[in-house]
């Protein structure tokens, strides 16, 4: 199979969630389904997602992110020092509520759908963020594969909730150093495992840059 060298086609990340997948996710969140059982459902979804991309003729294939609660909140499963918090739980602690709501709008997310990966302690990788995703994807396709990871700006901006995070870090920049270290370790692991393409997602970069321009605080 010769790979094309121009106009290479790929996908940016997540695939539509089926009703089965959404039901399993809700049960997993409520604690009535184990992570292992949830993953079995997700793996079936990933198999179908990969098959559809191959059928469409895509050059670089993704797994559709079915294992992930959201494209960034999933790291609470993988990173120590984090806690998944609903918007309602967070609002008690967020100092600038208007700015928080603005970030949600920027990310094009309805508030009801948002669970935030809040930093509540020193951050370290409990397990790789996406290495298992890569290994599983490799068993399903011979095509080049792409792994997506949340970017450092997005994570810093969302994970810092002053009232809770200051127990571990003095300021967002200090926390960001650990986030960058974690992402760098993951990137190296993925590279060493032969991943063809790693994409960092930065949907709030505009907001970060413009906040600095306007002299507002860069982070929440």
């Amino acid at each position: 199979m010769t790979e094309p060298k121009s106009f290479i086609t790929t996908q940016v990340g997540s695939w539509p969630r089926s009703k089965t997948m959404l039901k399993s996710l809700r049960s997993y969140q409520k604690g009535t389904v184990s992570r292992q059982d949830f993953n079995l459902v997700a793996e079936d979804e990933i198999r179908r997602t990969v098959a559809l991309q191959e059928q469409a003729g895509l050059d670089i294939v993704v797994d559709g992110e079915h294992r992930r609660e959201s494209f960034y909140a999933f790291i609470t499963d993988k990173v120590a020092g984090t806690q998944l918090m609903s918007l309602a739980e967070m609002l008690d602690f967020v100092e600038d509520k208007a700015e928080f709501e603005e970030m949600l709008r920027t990310m094009d997310m309805p508030a009801s759908a948002v669970k935030n990966p809040t930093c509540i302690g020193k951050l370290s990788r409990r397990e790789p963020l996406a290495l298992e995703d890569l290994h599983f994807l490799r068993t399903l396709t011979k095509k080049p594969v792409k792994i997506t990871l949340p970017g450092p700006y997005l994570l810093t901006r969302s994970m810092w909730v002053g009232a809770l995070t200051r127990t571990a870090y003095n300021d967002p920049r200090e926390m960001a150093d650990d986030i960058v270290r974690i992402l760098r370790e993951e990137l190296i692991d993925l590279r060493d495992a032969g991943c063809d393409f790693v994409q960092f997602d930065e949907p709030v970069l505009t907001e970060v840059v413009l906040s600095e321009e306007c002299g507002r605080r860069t982070f929440m």
Binding site: P4, F7, T9, P16, Q55, G64, S70, V209
Partner: protein
């Protein structure tokens, strides 16, 4: 919702050590390709050519035309074709149904086939 082209992001993007920028261009919000094309064509561009938030499939000819605009700044081997955002951005509701997502991917692949025939 922030609108406008990527001009104000350029100072940040120019400093990033990455091989490729994957950018949304299937929404009018993204502005003209020229803004990024003039400043960042030393890197690859992942050109967003279909919008995962809509349920109409983009015409293949429109995808080809968008890619041809980018060819004013990028070589064919620097130009990737992709969706804008993902299709299922977050957990509680899916942005798009699978059948439409699949047809959008097919449109991207067909556009790439035409572009390769024209430009190698």
């Amino acid at each position: 919702m922030l609108t406008g082209d990527y001009a104000r992001l350029l100072p940040a993007l120019e400093r990033m050590q990455v091989d490729q920028f994957v950018l949304e261009y299937a929404t009018p919000r993204a502005g003209d390709i020229e803004v990024v094309g003039r400043a960042l064509s030393d890197r690859e561009l992942g050109l967003g050519v279909v919008n995962p938030r809509t349920d109409t499939v983009e015409p293949v000819a429109a995808i080809v035309a968008k890619a041809e605009q980018a060819l004013a700044f990028y070589r064919p081997d620097q130009l990737f074709l992709n969706t804008d955002c993902g299709f299922g951005c977050f957990a509680s509701r899916s942005v798009n149904v699978e059948e439409i997502a699949f047809r959008k991917l097919c449109a991207i692949v067909e556009a790439a086939r035409i572009l390769r025939a024209r430009y190698g």
